[in-house]
């Protein structure tokens, strides 16, 4: 199964990446494509820009670990994850997750799993710039809860 993980400053082309996963394959019946986009407004305020800092080396490794876990849990025929870093403005693409499988259940579940983990375990940090100042984005409890629901019970849990 082909897995592509890229970290880059430049924009990506979601349609082209999706096509790359399905090209000349007769066995892929479902492709799910998720794009995360930089929003421009929050509670009435307009965002000027958002800068994404990341931990090179660990970011690729951590995303790779979660792609491996997704492969173990679902029958996938292809996965692509692209995460941008650097200074972005409202409307810019931030992250792309594409999953391909024979049927839709695995493609949907794996894409959601990967996004929930990207939000909580991938070493990126966002700094928002507003007209009147800048602040680091706080991690959300809702994101931790979303990631938590994918946790598999350990065999020791079941026995205890």
């Amino acid at each position: 199964m082909s897995a592509m993980i890229r970290l880059q400053r430049e924009d990506f082309d979601a349609a082209a990446e999706t096509a790359a996963l399905t090209r000349s394959r007769a066995d892929v019946g479902a492709v799910v494509t998720f794009t995360g986009i930089c929003r421009g407004a929050e509670e009435g305020r307009s965002l000027a820009a958002m800068t994404l800092e990341h931990y090179p080396g660990m970011a690729e490794a951590e995303i790779g670990r979660h792609v491996e876990e997704a492969r173990r849990r679902w029958p996938l025929m292809g996965v692509t994850v692209i995460h941008r870093y650097g200074r972005l403005v409202p409307g810019d693409n931030i992250v792309l997750v594409v999953t391909a499988s024979a049927h839709r259940a695995a493609a949907f579940a794996a894409a959601e799993f990967l996004m929930d983990y990207l939000k909580t375990r991938a070493p990126f940090w966002k700094k928002e710039e507003w007209a009147d100042g800048a602040n680091w984005v706080d991690a959300k409890n809702a994101d931790d809860a979303a990631a938590e629901r994918w946790r598999e019970p350990r065999s020791s849990d079941a026995a205890g």
Partner: protein, 85 residues
């Protein structure tokens, strides 16, 4: 034992640098003990590590818990909870 430390986001801003090499004394055995030792090195470190509950750590690019031993680590990173995706 020399170890490279790397800092990200507001941890980096508060300390004033993104990386450094340190030599913690022998009594510093875990990530948590390392944070305590770092906090004592100056006001900027104390400010960065003021609230341990929001500091996360990685050893050699893998997430670790505060009680993890640091012996043999090449690179230890400290950062706030992640906000990627």
């Amino acid at each position: 034992m020399n170890v490279k430390l790397v800092y990200f986001a507001w941890v980096r801003e508060r300390i004033g640098k993104g990386e450094e090499t340190v030599e913690p004394p022998p009594g510093v055995a875990t990530v948590d003990e390392l944070m305590t030792w770092l906090a004592g090195r100056g006001e900027e470190y104390a400010h960065a590590f003021a609230n341990r509950k929001v500091i996360r750590a990685a050893i050699d690019r893998t997430h670790v818990r505060p009680e993890t031993k640091i012996g043999g680590a090449t690179e230890i990173a400290f950062f706030p909870p992640m906000t990627g995706g």
